[in-house]
């Protein structure tokens, strides 16, 4: 859709209002306490205007940018994952009816609530949603709850201008500018894509149209027509952002590196640092593992089945008939990074990492997936050895 518009910064409220009047619950980045998180957006004033972030291994700080940027930060503390795939949800509720001979009835829980509009979702996280579309909704058994929330969602993506030190989407080919279409399905990646342009006395968004619904919204809020040169401005922003990224994974070899590393001595090393705390998996926008918990009340007359996020870093995750199959932390770390950077591709046809850097920032031990992948590459002999210092 070769349709470019200009939205003045002052027009953000109109955009949010339009989405809300169309019945969407608008969800996007907002400042809560010590971090930018994902929450409900009712007006532009809910966005973290003028805030940036500093992210690196095991550190996250919100900082003041000294300008008025609405989206001048990188990956929020949590991605949009919980929006479509909540940390805990009820699958079914059961009840025993004493008036009906103790008969037990089970009712499937159906997610309700307004359709979602994602506002300000980053390229990495948008790619992660597409990966979830494949994993949770693109195979023989469809996750009905996920589809229920995901179908009909409206997406306003934002291209990144200021990546954090933890970001490495450029090397993964997942950002900072999102692909126009989902490479698996060919569907548009977004309804609208915004790139924020902050000039001396000019603050606007280049708005690229992805779908008819996006165009309708753009028309409705009176976004003016832009020029091809505006798209060049937008691309310049993301090109500069990509050039500023310092971390990277070599995707040309990483799949094979992990394959060759099953017995690598690196696992002992990383296990001595790894806390087996699960944080990396729970902040990862693509991790999808869950467990099922059955809950009953004291009488046993009411019961519920809950689906809850789980992690391959917990011992109970691999518990089968009497014991865990991944008892050691080294086996768990190996499982995690191998899944993300290798076996995910065998399973789903793409890598399971979008380079958002959250597992680096939010690991309390500062373990860095790019550093581990690089070390495994060198140790496996598939990557060039580190230059002598």
């Amino acid at each position: 859709m070769d349709d470019i518009r200009i939205l003045q910064a002052s027009g953000l409220d109109a955009l949010i209002e339009e989405l809300r009047s169309r019945g969407f619950r608008v969800v996007g980045p907002t400042l809560r306490g010590d971090a930018i998180v994902t929450g409900e957006i009712r007006a532009a004033s809910d966005l973290p205007r003028g805030k940036g972030d500093s992210q690196d291994a095991k550190t996250y700080r919100v900082r003041s940018r000294g300008d008025d940027a609405y989206f001048g930060f990188a990956a929020p503390a949590q991605s949009s994952k919980p929006v479509f795939f909540p940390a805990e949800e009820v699958v079914w509720r059961g009840h025993r009816d004493h008036d009906d001979d103790g008969h037990f009835t089970v009712e499937r829980d159906t997610p309700d609530g307004a359709p979602i509009a994602l506002l300000g979702v980053r390229s990495c996280d948008l790619r992660a949603v597409q990966i979830h579309d494949r994993v949770l909704a693109g195979r023989s058994h469809v996750d009905a709850h996920y589809v229920g929330r995901r179908d009909g969602a409206f997406v306003v993506a934002v291209a990144c201008s200021d990546p954090a030190a933890s970001c490495f989407c450029a090397s993964m080919g997942t950002g900072p500018r999102p692909a126009t279409t989902d490479p698996e399905t060919g569907a548009s990646s977004y309804d609208l894509l915004l790139t924020e342009i902050l000039g001396e006395d000019d603050h606007h968004f280049v708005m690229e149209i992805g779908t008819d619904a996006g165009r309708e919204v753009a028309d409705e809020i009176g976004a003016s027509m832009g020029h091809p040169a505006d798209r060049d401005d937008a691309v310049a922003v993301t090109d500069a952002a990509a050039a500023r990224q310092t971390r990277a994974i070599d995707t040309t070899i990483v799949h094979d590196v992990l394959r060759a590393s099953a017995e690598s001595p690196r696992w002992e090393d990383v296990a001595s640092r790894c806390l087996a705390c699960t944080n990396c998996t729970l902040v990862c926008p693509t991790c999808f593992c869950t467990t099922v918990q059955d809950v009953s009340d004291l009488t046993g007359d009411s019961a519920e089945r809950h689906r809850v996020w789980d992690s391959c870093f917990s011992e109970s995750f691999s518990y089968i008939h009497g014991g865990p199959t991944r008892e050691s932390t080294k086996a768990r770390y190996r499982q995690w990074i191998t899944h993300k950077l290798s076996s995910w591709e065998d399973q789903f046809g793409m890598l399971g990492c979008v380079g958002c850097g959250r597992c680096i920032t939010w690991c309390p031990a500062g373990i860095d997936i790019t550093e581990e992948a690089a070390a495994l590459g060198r140790m496996s002999g598939l990557a060039a050895p580190a230059p002598a210092t």
């Binding site: 010590d34 996250y60 087996a276 009488t299 046993g300 917990s314 309390p364």
Partner: protein, 299 residues
């Protein structure tokens, strides 16, 4: 000794899935006993604090022995025993064996019962020495050199951690017991609950130390939910890597003495925390010695 304690206002107890008569009397409901050893009673109070559920609990079980709540006593055996407190005297040792023999399911509740409690600090002290300092007639005192968890003496079916225990976990054990299923007592880290709640990680976002990564879940990540680091009151998680966490605490600027102290609180006696505190102490002693040697050599 055998006056049944009828819960207030309950005449027709509820029927249960596992086949109690509809007109179940006190004697056909499973008998619950709550026992106390060396402890502060806080965990028993957590049970009494289950205000919303207390009535249903009293309907579902026959509270046969619970001195904190009622003076009436029903003799054993008991289908379910909840045990609070640690073993600190020779008499405790005898009593816990008797209780085990009289109990169907035995669950220990709280840091004292599961790790020895704060009183396990005596494990690092010379009991004879402080006994003679504190008591006028230490010869009257029969005490052990250590404070140990119940599971060091008898078989325990389920352990509920925490100082005090979490109300929801207590109810879960009771509900599971009554419905003949296994209670859900996760042994992974506090970080799991913290992230599921959507909290922002305290050490990463503020630089405050947090014991969550080495501590067992169960509290619902209470402290981090209020922006404070976890104190470790649920004791070590199943895969606690205290060596790595100690390095993080050092990097966050915590002095060795404080690190020793954070591992030696309510769960000082838990093997993983005890070893971690000993290791920090040994390192500090070694560092001090090498500093002294350097200074000696320099002079």
């Amino acid at each position: 000794m055998s006056i049944a304690t009828e819960p207030h206002g309950v005449t027709e107890p509820h029927a249960h899935s596992h086949g109690h008569d509809d007109a179940a009397s006190a004697s056909s409901r499973p008998k619950l006993a709550v026992w106390k050893f060396a402890s502060c009673d806080g965990c028993q109070l957590s049970l009494l604090n289950c205000e919303d559920e207390l009535l249903s609990i009293a309907e579902a079980v026959h509270i046969a022995y619970f001195p904190e709540a009622t003076r009436a006593v029903v003799e054993g055996p008991y289908e379910l025993s909840l045990v609070e407190g640690s073993i600190t005297t020779p008499d405790d040792v005898r009593r816990i064996h008797e209780i085990r023999a009289q109990s169907g399911v035995l669950a220990t509740i709280g840091a004292c019962a599961t790790a020895g409690g704060i009183q396990a600090l005596r494990n690092w002290a010379d009991v004879d020495q402080y006994r003679s300092v504190v008591y006028a007639h230490p010869e009257y005192l029969k005490t052990l050199d250590t404070s140990t968890p119940i599971a060091s003496h008898v078989d325990v079916d389920y352990e509920l951690r925490g100082c005090p225990v979490d109300k929801k976990q207590l109810i879960e054990v009771l509900a599971a017991f009554l419905n003949g299923r296994k209670p859900r007592i996760p042994t992974y880290s506090v970080c799991v609950e913290c992230k599921l709640k959507g909290n922002v990680c305290v050490p990463v976002a503020t630089g405050q130390p947090c014991l969550g990564p080495v501590t067992q879940a169960g509290c619902g990540a209470l402290c981090p939910s209020y922006g404070r680091g976890c104190y470790g009151c649920f004791g070590p998680q199943d895969s606690a890597n205290t060596e790595s966490l100690t390095r993080q605490l050092v990097e966050l600027g915590m002095p060795s003495d404080d690190i020793v102290r954070v591992y030696r609180t309510f769960n000082a006696g838990a093997p993983a925390f005890a070893a971690a505190s000993d290791a920090v102490e040994a390192d500090a002693v070694e560092a001090a010695a090498s500093r002294a040697a350097e200074q000696g050599g320099a002079s």
